[in-house]
Assembly symmetry: C2
Homo-oligomer: 652 residues x 2
Amino acid sequence: MILILFFFLPSLLSCNSHPLDPLTPSELSIIQQTIKTSNGLNSSTPLNFHYVGLAKPDKSALLSWHADDSHSPPPPRMAFVILRFGRGQTHEIYVDISTKSIVSNKIYTGFGYPTFNLEEQTRASTLPLKYSPFMESVKKRGMKLSDVVCLAASVGWFGEVLKTKRVVKLICYVTGDTVNFYMRPLEGITIVVDLDVMKIVDYKDRFVVPVPKAKGTDYRSAKQSLPYGRQGKPVTVVQPEGKGFVIDGHFISWANWRFHLGYDVRAGAIISLASVREVEKGLYRQVLYKGFLSELFVPYQDPTEDWYYRTYFDTGEYGFGLYASSLQPLTDCPTNAEFMDGYYANQDGTPVKIKNVLCVFERYSGDSSWRHTETGIPGQVCGNYDYITNWEFKTSGSIKVLVSLTGILAVKGTTYTNAGQVKKDEDLYGTLLAENTIGVYHDHFLTYYLDLDIDGNKNSFVQAKIKTMRVTDGSSPRKSHWTVVKETAETEADGRVELGSEPANLLVVNTNKKTKVGNDVGYQIISHGATAASLLSDDDYPQIRASYSKKQVWVTAYNKSEQWAAGLYVDQSRGDDNLAVWSQRNRLIKNADIVVWYTVGFHHIPYQEDFPLMPILTGGFELRPSNFFESNPLIKTRPFKQTNWPNCTHRS
Amino acid sequence: MILILFFFLPSLLSCNSHPLDPLTPSELSIIQQTIKTSNGLNSSTPLNFHYVGLAKPDKSALLSWHADDSHSPPPPRMAFVILRFGRGQTHEIYVDISTKSIVSNKIYTGFGYPTFNLEEQTRASTLPLKYSPFMESVKKRGMKLSDVVCLAASVGWFGEVLKTKRVVKLICYVTGDTVNFYMRPLEGITIVVDLDVMKIVDYKDRFVVPVPKAKGTDYRSAKQSLPYGRQGKPVTVVQPEGKGFVIDGHFISWANWRFHLGYDVRAGAIISLASVREVEKGLYRQVLYKGFLSELFVPYQDPTEDWYYRTYFDTGEYGFGLYASSLQPLTDCPTNAEFMDGYYANQDGTPVKIKNVLCVFERYSGDSSWRHTETGIPGQVCGNYDYITNWEFKTSGSIKVLVSLTGILAVKGTTYTNAGQVKKDEDLYGTLLAENTIGVYHDHFLTYYLDLDIDGNKNSFVQAKIKTMRVTDGSSPRKSHWTVVKETAETEADGRVELGSEPANLLVVNTNKKTKVGNDVGYQIISHGATAASLLSDDDYPQIRASYSKKQVWVTAYNKSEQWAAGLYVDQSRGDDNLAVWSQRNRLIKNADIVVWYTVGFHHIPYQEDFPLMPILTGGFELRPSNFFESNPLIKTRPFKQTNWPNCTHRS
């Protein structure tokens, strides 16, 4: 009981103490009521909420409040709401929470639609079950209607000139003797649903291929039969002196770091105001004003009728935070983790809780003397795929962002049961993973928004290019060496980087702050694998929508409204409001408030080990101090007292 | 006492039970005595041992013995010895340990010299302390001779046509008020020592620059003063049910893996006979016949007189296993680790022990549901730099090889105390890290020997190239997609890969074994960062010696004598016996016994955080089953019972 109180108390006492805290359930209810009772929105047509989130205060206002060590009153709490209403209009509404009033209400008339809400997807997905042509299709395939599950898929944009309706396509699967229905697709059926009228508006049953068998697809341990695989012995972490971090509301302090951790229904985890303490001066220095996963683009590489449109934008179309799962203690996070819940507004605007949506823990990485304890935040599980996103803060000053892919592939039914049957020149657009089952080729592009403010918000982007120099004057027995040629980006055009095109260190520096020996203070971005860029043609429609996915790094001038790499309205977007378009404005980015966009990219050729559920594949990047500190900050961190070490004395 | 017995017993009982076990102290003594008492070697001239290691049995003999489940007698124990003797001759000697006899004794007459032994380096490094011109140089710099430490550095080869003497250059430093003398070089002095006559044969004092101050260079925690950095709380791992692996001599079984772990004075850790168990058939299937770090090339990028020759080959010139440090319990390996000692022969042939040279442990990686416990082996600390090399075996069938760089940079003294003093067009060949201290640009190329035998030793190397396909016939609303074009290497020329030049999966497959659905069984090599290749000109001498460092991947036909990427004799080598030269033979590698060579590469631009000791930087690669199993082997591994989980119920 005491423990329960203890963990509840900080949240009761500190809740909403920070202007960046996510909207609370009571705030969500106020927003819902404010909108529902407002003149002009109060109608017989239902209001459909598609996004409700904190409208972030102005950066300058927030920074002054933060610098004042929270002694002045915080900026007012505002919400940003996107809803559909009336004759299918998209409204952008700002609500002042304290005054319970609508500050502005604007109708959006451009291309693209807001993020789906869960309820409309669920409603749409049940329509076929009462639609007689579909019932006939299921029968024709020898399946039971009660075993069928359909899911809504975004349709993309393929060059239509006029505005298209807000439709989805349904992809249907068979459960039966497996929980893993994703492995049992019903191929050959096209079902189009208009979400605004919630009706099937197009239906085709074009061909029949066998539905893959259920056998071998279930991944639950209770469903496995002998023989079992051998395993090691369980390993658990313990912290004999308790946890080393303090969570005050959403503000986390650990070792030399402090940062704010928020949740957003679209972005998932948001890190804000991350700053690191310099030992000598005892002051915290700014590093990352804001960091989050801005977009996740997953284009499949099969151009056929059933698959060509599967070019998902998981953040903008589906909501990365909406699809987040509750983290499972011991399975997803270790025993020493602390959990945070997330809240979002459903279709009706009512608050819904996702329990344990984030966890925070100190990690044992003790493989070597200078690899210190770190604190990490994994989170987010989305769709059939599971993405585990980690933010690791290290005492060295590094922030390591890692993405782990696991979960279930999207597979395609086929008549083939053996690779030997495939005709020589035929393209399966994937790998035969099991009988009648193709794992379709695809990519994952996770684009991170990184508003780095290295020791202040006037920063510059520098490519420290590594260039071979010839020695031709006989001044050395050597004939060559490499050196570093630093190129500072003047405008956004200089801030576009294709990783691997030439060797370079990528730095964000503050030329207004120097170390004692006169170097510009800075941080470096280091890739840790997963540097794929999109291979689609520039004129292909999915590529036009995600035109930023051809380069892994972009640097833009800070603009409050430029947060989502594929634009604010991604469903059926046409690429007129994305990162690449903003960059075309070619603003000055030298000694300016700049944002770095970094894409973690994977080309995924499936293999049989990915069936029925893929083992983790990891990639990411590290933000590493590079002339930020005067010297290695680990040196000044005293090692932990060494206590229990039972095994060492066994050998002598 | 019981525990001590327990941990000693397996080693007593099983010692030498496996033909791949490293030479034991008693075997090293037998080899020493056999050689010392042999006719023709028994002379008044001292014998200098440069390498004593197990002469590996023939692969076919070993594999038959292994397949027979160790019931037949093992292949005989033989040692391979390199020694210098008589008129400076290099001898290659094979010793039969059981018969205590010399099987062959050959004089090597080619270019290059064997690995230095420790004793000759130590003797050489003390010569200047009694050499009056050097004593004068130290005095001129205002330093105390008793504070001076010199180290032997290989001199490389810079186009000399005639055979050169076996010389080293000495690089001298000042300790004084720091243990980190590497940060305090004496610049401007050239000292050349002939190792065979153990005399200074050349000496120059060319210029004086200030010796960097000791202040701030000591990294020992006891030497730090207030204020200290903040830290988290200690995190320890526990295994309530004990360890999950079994070590029988040098053979390790854990979960679905088994492998042999050896130590060699040149290579460090050697993994052999790694095989993974398939649950369905209950059989172990071969994956890696042998894997080890074959060479570590570290070229500095400063062409000036004091630095141009610093192009080290740490394995071939110095011995990666010889420079291995004892791993520190709790600091280097967690509480649940088991340690192994290593033994080598010193200059005189006498066995020397390196305690705890390797450790084995189960790792808690429990950040997510499908990231399972792994077993890992870190080891090896070499020279001023520390390299921590890890082999992680995962229940998913993956082997992850990670290299962590930490330790102390090689720095150069300078008159500069501030970056502002440097003339605009002057190249420092490095970064000003502190007053009078430049961290010189350099690379690290760690080349791994990977004799993969995927389900047998007839394998092929396949590049699954990812290629954009245009859709031009109007058959799809898409205009493009990518597909996979598999190219099987016919000869060694097809086995050279420049990573990043085009997107591809790199696979080693066995086309003689198919999965049930007809795919070739295989493993994939996935890079996890650190994919740098050498940037030196092809005609530069260090590059000629390490000509293989321009490509990260080579595939060669198995040849017992081709083990060391830069050749057997690396000191003053001329590039006539290295991996690139072997590959020029262009042997057939399709459906053959093949070896993959993978280089983990870092371009290192130093930053102030690397002073006085750099925080860990990690890179590596993963060998990942890719159509090796019928499906994900994790599915058949039952989860651990969930026990102690105190924190979860605090929030509800």
